[in-house]
Symmetry: C2
DNA sequence: AACGTCTTCCAAAGCGCTTTAAAATATGTA
DNA sequence: TACATATTTTAAAGCGCTTTGGAAGACGTT
């Protein structure tokens, strides 16, 4: 069933039917009712491709998903997408997701942008001086970045959390509790959030004349296994750290396992603060020792980014181009006074 | 830059350029080279909407993602999609994901199917007698189901793991270890995999004249928190179960926390077997007591489903319509002989 | 020279929609 | 009644691609 058939059935022109469907004013009330009724009866749905070709609007947001055999999937992806979807649903938008070779994300993004398949793009996992930014700026398609790219002019639209402040505050808290030996279990080295979190830690330490030893920093994928490896390494250090900052609750999970195995008490022998993206899967308050966290719901970021993207496409008023959200520092039992000595 | 401009630039007709691009034989070698070169220089990419309209092929797989405020995201989604993507990438396919009100998945799926936006559909999280099946069968778009729908004629294309056999085998192992009091921490009640897993447990028990007490079964979302609640409940039972079958390693995570808190030893006082979808996030072999699991990589299922879907679209030969994969039973330390008494 | 056969290219139609420009009809006013 | 003005409808063009049905030219054969 297409427009032509539908309009013939109704004895109307395609124009009129199209207008009735799209809410144009210049169509008689009765006629519109008749059209709508016919649509209900036939289950007619306009062909999206044709609509897109005619209007240039696709009703879709595009994103690139890196994938390859052995390339680990991202725990956060589902939760973030659910947030995007919450808002997209309200506007009848959908997503076009292009799988991409992890080494060719820029190319994949570019092809997606000029394919005419999407109205706007979303990118995340920004690196320092991210090459995708120049590409995106050169195109004339709306986009919003989740995160930022250190080393690039901050003249692009983004939504980020203040990673540096979050980890600065967290470190500050640990310093006040008397800790002096710090370690950081961070995300992949080249990623902006990892860079800024480390900066936050270093800045807080510097205020007390302390420096962060590189031996006390790991950069890994955020899985329980990596948390486990990192913690094993920290515990073997001659000057064992008493305060751990952790870029994810999943990493913390592995770390805590090792802490327990070593017979150490979390919140007494070792304090730990993790960043919490508020994944439904893992609640820091339910850890056997509830976790002190820097909290910022990933899903809310998804909702907001969809809102901005769709708002821009539909011209629903203007939004701030740059947003920096504060993370909440939530103190629970995994942080305590530094052990004596 | 579109076809028209490109062909004018080259002094060729659109037909010839189109054919050169799509690998048709009736175009001179030199001419083709010239076209390809121009494409490289200009960065021309055909408009997907136009291509789709002209060919009826979209180069995309469609899926529906339920989402609503408060509706938890799915941990497995990212991993499965990564698998789909692995294969899709090889064929230059992308995904169209429609967010949907959890109460209107059937409608959303139907709209997606007839939007002309996708060449094939994928559905998962099948329920008993799933209403999506009839809808899909009535349409003439290829689809593959991940899982099955108990209570429906098994005449639709699916890929499932043998959940019943997996949990039957797991139960059998525990029986051999002398366990007599069983509990099951399962996924949501209406889902096919949950139903079948419970059937597997019951069947094995029945062979020994045992029955599964409903008080020893929970049906919940698969988060650590729910695992925790469920285990708390089991421990309060007058006849405490000594053997737990668990539909997910994430649930197991919460359960084990409670087991530890209660001062019980996993693999001694209580044995536990969990189903492992092989998520990068959580490795059962790294649990402080390594977990015995029924193992079946979710990602592999994703790859295979994409393979079948794309194969069907591109007519790359035939695939079995129904596939039932065996899960591996991997014995680790979380299972041991039943405690005396 | 005339013919058939390949090879290589092209004009134009068509995919299903939106939208422009104009026509047909209804309504109001002098 | 005649005309101007709103209201409602339509024919046709166009979005950017693929594909059908030829046409033009090169080549070999008789």
């Amino acid at each position: 069933m297409n427009l032509k058939q539908l309009s013939q059935m109704l004895g109307l022109s395609q124009t009129t039917v199209s207008r009735a469907l799209n809410g144009y004013p210049e169509v008689n009330r009765e006629t519109r009712e008749r059209v709508l009724q016919a649509v209900r009866e036939t289950g007619y749905r306009p062909n999206k491709a044709a609509q897109r070709l005619a209007t240039g609007k696709a009703g879709s947001l595009g994103l690139v998903m890196p994938t390859a055999p052995g390339h680990p999937s991202d725990v956060h992806f589902g939760e973030f997408l659910t947030g995007l979807g919450e808002e997209a649903l309200r506007h009848d938008f959908h997503f076009v997701i292009t799988p991409a070779d992890p080494n060719d994300e820029v190319g994949a993004l570019r092809r997606l942008a000029i394919s005419g398949n999407v109205d706007a793009l979303f990118v995340a996992y920004m690196r320092g001086h991210d090459p995708r930014l120049d590409m995106l700026k050169s195109l004339s398609i709306p986009f919003v970045v989740h995160g930022r790219s250190i080393g690039s002019e901050p003249d692009y639209p983004y939504l980020d959390i203040d990673n540096e402040a979050a980890f600065y505050d967290a470190t500050k808290l640990l310093l006040q509790l008397g800790h002096r030996r710090f370690a950081v279990m961070n995300g992949p080295e080249h990623l902006d959030f990892a860079i800024r979190r480390k900066m936050g830690v270093s800045a807080a330490l510097a205020e007390r004349g302390l420096t962060l030893d590189e031996a006390c920093v790991t950069h890994t994928a955020m899985t329980d296994e990596q948390g486990l490896f990192a913690m094993e390494r920290f515990l073997q250090l001659p000057e064992r750290p008493t305060a751990i900052l952790c870029s994810s609750t999943v990493l913390a999970l592995g770390a805590i396992r090792i802490i327990n195995q070593a017979g150490l008490k979390l919140g007494e022998d070792i304090s730990l603060i993790a960043h919490d993206d508020v994944l439904p899967l893992l609640k820091p308050e339910n850890f056997s020792v509830p976790l002190t966290t820097t909290r910022s719901p990933l899903r809310a970021a998804g909702v907001r980014i969809a809102e901005r993207l769709i708002g821009q496409i539909k011209d629903l008023g203007s939004y701030p181009e740059q947003e920096l959200w504060k993370a909440e520092l939530i103190v629970r039992a995994s942080t305590g006074a530094a052990p004596a000595g």
